[in-house]
């Protein structure tokens, strides 16, 4: 790898962010190209770490010095040795993989935003936060200890807030009646995202600090990932189990990913986060930040496996994985149903993101459960991370194409578009590839990654029954069932989205614009080249599965992986393929009837069947979860604050202040009568003082 690559792949974007206001003073073009340049350089550094992982040893390319002969490789500075606080980076397949995704997609999206955000007056702020975000995300994934990772976690949260509310100065009327202008609405969306993820962040922080406290009690305070799962420092786990705080800590630790990755019940912020620019949605809310939760779960899973195996308490692994898997599966289903009925294209993609991340959590949870019953988490772990990579690519592709469409038609509502296939052929083809990959149609990468997840769930069910865990086996089948149903729904809404935007006849809105002379045009090259790149990766990505497997398991003890084509055969000829095909049919046929072929009009269908209308309304109002939060939690909190204000602040504190002032005033009114201004009276006072001193001296 290039020298200091693990440090520079997050250092350079941050430096670039700090330099952007400086560059902006010279020339806007210098600022734009400079910002993109920094992110590309960061990507080069991240890429340089990949060959080292494959080779199994870390070599400095400039000096040829071998830094380490095994993975994982840690480079750290001990900041406060007594407290176990350090600053460091961990070179490890998971972190290098995530760093490449963050840096790579970041660089691509920065190039894209050269075209998308062209002419915006606040571009300096935009470049600053985008680069800062990329740096923060890579810091998060490259961190070698919990504390540093939490710092990266907070940085991405901050940048997400800033970038969602990026257009807070807009003066157009707001889409919801609660706010006056669209700018205010955007700012509210940013705050909602920040506050909702905050709930998760607080839970995560409590869990991190509690684990730290237990390591302190065990004698060796540390935040370090490797140390937490090593054999010599395992005492903290024993103490944790003995104190009975294990289950709460597990739940709290998972609270962070629930918030950041928009799982149930903290998923309400992601649809509102679409108020930001599309590039922001692509980078933050599809490809990177929401993956941070998945990364954390993947990071923590080996800790639960190894440490608790050492102290013979694998119940921790069981609890954790069960929670992760169930929440993931439920969220996937929940979000997919909401995506089925959404009107705006970006909201569809947002729900789809929540759903797909649910898949990843499901895969990791399943992996943990397989580890519990059979001792090896490799299957689910691999499934989760592979789906992470392919989802990052095709979701970014979908968002960027949606951005191109939005840029061309200047509307967010899907039903106001239509017939764009003839105007934007390249965008159409790219978005189609993305949608098919999302839905899991062979031979795109999405198909292979979803298959792997189903396969993992199937293996879980089988292994559980073989080893005698009936409950887990039943859970495995349940999870598989939910995943398959969600796949059907996914296909349905992907086809729906493509069809409404591109294949339906032109809407009134488009016709109106054409009459005014604003034609729908294809995106400029600076925008469709990244689309093409991502589409290409999405097509051939599946072929990289064997190499990916080798990559991910480098450095794991006890796993020997060889790259081979066996993997494809395994997937294609397993029982789960039948389920996938059934799901595709189940989802595809209604989609064809309603949207692609337009045999039945969806509006008329809803009017005819009352049952479907009710279901439609239920899904459209987001299962009423959002309204519940607003009325009960937010409303209740505001009422409580008002009550406290009235009682405490006005009643007690203000009254006390007035009383104090009145007392002092009365006292001074009385006391000032002694200032007669007459010198003789002062002398009498002196004499009284002397008498007092004499009395003190005589009798004291």
């Amino acid at each position: 790898m290039l020298p200091l690559a693990p440090w520079l792949c997050w250092g350079i974007p941050i430096i670039g962010a700090l330099l952007t206001p400086l560059l902006a003073r010279f020339d806007p073009k210098i600022r734009d190209y400079g910002a993109v340049f920094f992110s590309i350089v960061g990507f080069i550094f991240a890429l340089s770490m990949v060959p080292d992982i494959f080779a199994g040893k870390v070599v400095n390319w400039f000096t040829g010095k071998v830094l380490s002969t095994n993975i994982p490789y840690e480079s750290k500075i001990n900041w406060i040795p007594g407290l176990g606080i350090e600053v460091g980076v961990l070179v490890d397949p998971l972190s290098v993989f995530m760093a490449n995704i963050a840096n790579g997609l970041g660089a691509l999206i920065m190039v894209y935003s050269l075209g998308y955000m062209h002419g915006d007056p606040d571009l300096t702020r935009y470049w600053f936060f985008m680069n800062f975000f990329i740096g923060g995300m890579v810091l998060l994934v490259m961190a070698n200890n919990f504390l540093q990772m939490f710092i990266g976690w907070e940085i991405v949260g901050l940048c997400s807030y800033a970038l969602i509310g990026f257009w807070h100065k807009k003066k157009e009327p707001s889409p919801v009646p609660d706010y006056k202008t669209e700018g205010e609405y955007n700012a509210m969306c940013g705050m909602k995202a920040f506050i909702t993820t905050r709930v998760g962040d607080v839970a995560l922080l409590i869990a991190i600090l509690t684990i730290y406290a237990f390591t302190w009690k065990a004698g060796h305070p540390t935040f370090n990932f490797l140390e937490l799962r090593s054999e010599e420092y395992v005492e903290w786990a024993r103490l944790l189990v003995a104190s009975g705080l294990l289950i709460p800590i597990v739940i709290l630790l998972f609270g962070g990913p629930v918030g950041k990755s928009a799982q149930f019940p903290l998923h309400v912020w992601l649809p509102e986060a679409m108020a930001g620019p599309t590039t922001v949605s692509a980078l933050i809310h599809a490809a990177t930040m929401v993956k941070a939760g998945v990364y954390l779960v993947a990071r923590v899973l080996p800790i639960f496996v190894e440490v608790f195996k050492l102290i013979n308490f694998t119940g921790a692994l069981y609890t954790f994985s069960l929670i992760v898997a169930c929440i993931g599966a439920f969220t996937a289903f929940l979000a997919a149903t909401m995506g089925m009925v959404a009107r705006e294209v970006k909201k569809v993609l947002a729900y789809s993101t929540i759903s797909q991340i649910g898949y990843m959590m499901l895969a990791l949870g399943v992996g943990g459960l397989i580890g519990y019953v059979a001792g090896e988490i490799a299957e689910g772990y691999y499934a989760g991370t592979f789906h992470l990579m392919s989802h990052a690519v095709f979701k970014a592709l979908l968002f960027l194409s949606a951005g191109a469409v939005l840029h061309a038609t200047e509307t967010k509502d899907m039903f106001e578009m239509g017939g764009l296939k003839q105007y934007m052929p390249i965008t159409y083809k790219c978005m189609l590839i993305g949608a098919l990959s999302l839905a899991g149609i062979p031979p795109f990468s999405g198909f292979w990654s979803k298959e792997t997840i189903f396969d993992a769930a199937w293996i879980l069910a089988n292994e559980a029954y073989t080893h005698g865990y009936a409950f887990i086996g039943a859970t495995g089948y349940m999870l598989l069932f939910m995943a398959v149903i969600t796949a059907a729904i996914t296909l349905f809404y992907s086809i729906r989205m493509i069809a409404i935007i591109f294949l339906w006849p032109e809407s009134e809105y488009i016709k109106e614009r054409e009459r005014k002379g604003e034609y729908v045009h294809e995106a400029p090259p600076v925008m469709w080249v990244p689309l093409a790149v991502l589409a290409a990766i999405s097509v051939i990505g599946g072929l990289f599965a064997p190499m990916f497997q080798v990559f991910m398991f480098k450095g794991w003890e006890g796993i020997e992986v060889h790259a081979s084509m066996e993997i494809f055969a395994e997937l294609l000829f397993s029982p789960t393929i039948l389920m996938t095909l059934a799901a595709l049919v189940l989802g595809g046929v209604p989609a064809y009837y309603f949207y692609w072929g337009r045999k039945i009009d969806p509006g008329e269908f809803l009017e005819k069947h009352g049952f479907f209308r009710t279901v439609h309304r239920f899904f459209y109002n987001r299962w009423y979860i959002n309204d519940f939060y607003v009325k009960v939690i937010v409303g209740g909190f505001i009422k409580l604050s008002l009550a406290i204000y009235k009682f405490f602040e006005e009643g007690i504190v203000d009254r006390f202040n007035y009383a104090l002032a009145w007392v002092v005033r009365g006292f001074t009114q009385a006391f000032r009568k002694t200032h007669t201004g007459d010198l003789n009276y002062n002398m009498i006072a002196v004499m009284l003082g002397v008498i007092a001193i004499l009395i003190l001296l005589l009798f004291g």
């Binding site: 009568k673 200032h675 003789n680 004499m687």
Partner: protein, 102 residues
């Protein structure tokens, strides 16, 4: 040599006379005279107490010498202030100078 108590008594009476003057008189010059009587009482006290049959205490005598000098300076300053006050107010009556009244 009469006993120490006579001198201490004399000092005490002088002190009281000084205080009485300060507390009662209206004229500034009288007030300064009262201050001077107080100072003299203190000096008498020091010297009386430093004359013992065992020997003479030179430290107390030195204090008194210095105090005499300082006392003279204080009175000089007070008198110059009196002059200015007289020029400003036209009177030496302390009870007419009440600008520090509440």
């Amino acid at each position: 040599m009469i006993g120490l108590n006579w001198y201490l008594g004399a000092a005490a009476i002088l002190y009281l006379i000084g205080l009485y003057c300060l507390a009662t008189k209206r004229n500034i010059i009288k007030l300064i005279i009262g201050v001077e009587i107080l100072i003299n009482a203190a000096h008498l006290n020091f010297i009386a107490l430093s004359t013992t049959t065992a020997g003479l205490d030179p430290l107390a005598r030195s204090f008194v010498i210095i105090s005499i000098g300082v006392g003279a300076g204080v009175i000089a300053l007070a008198l110059s202030l009196t002059l200015l006050i007289y020029r400003h107010y036209g009177t030496l009556d302390v009870r007419k100078m009440r600008r520090l009244k509440w």
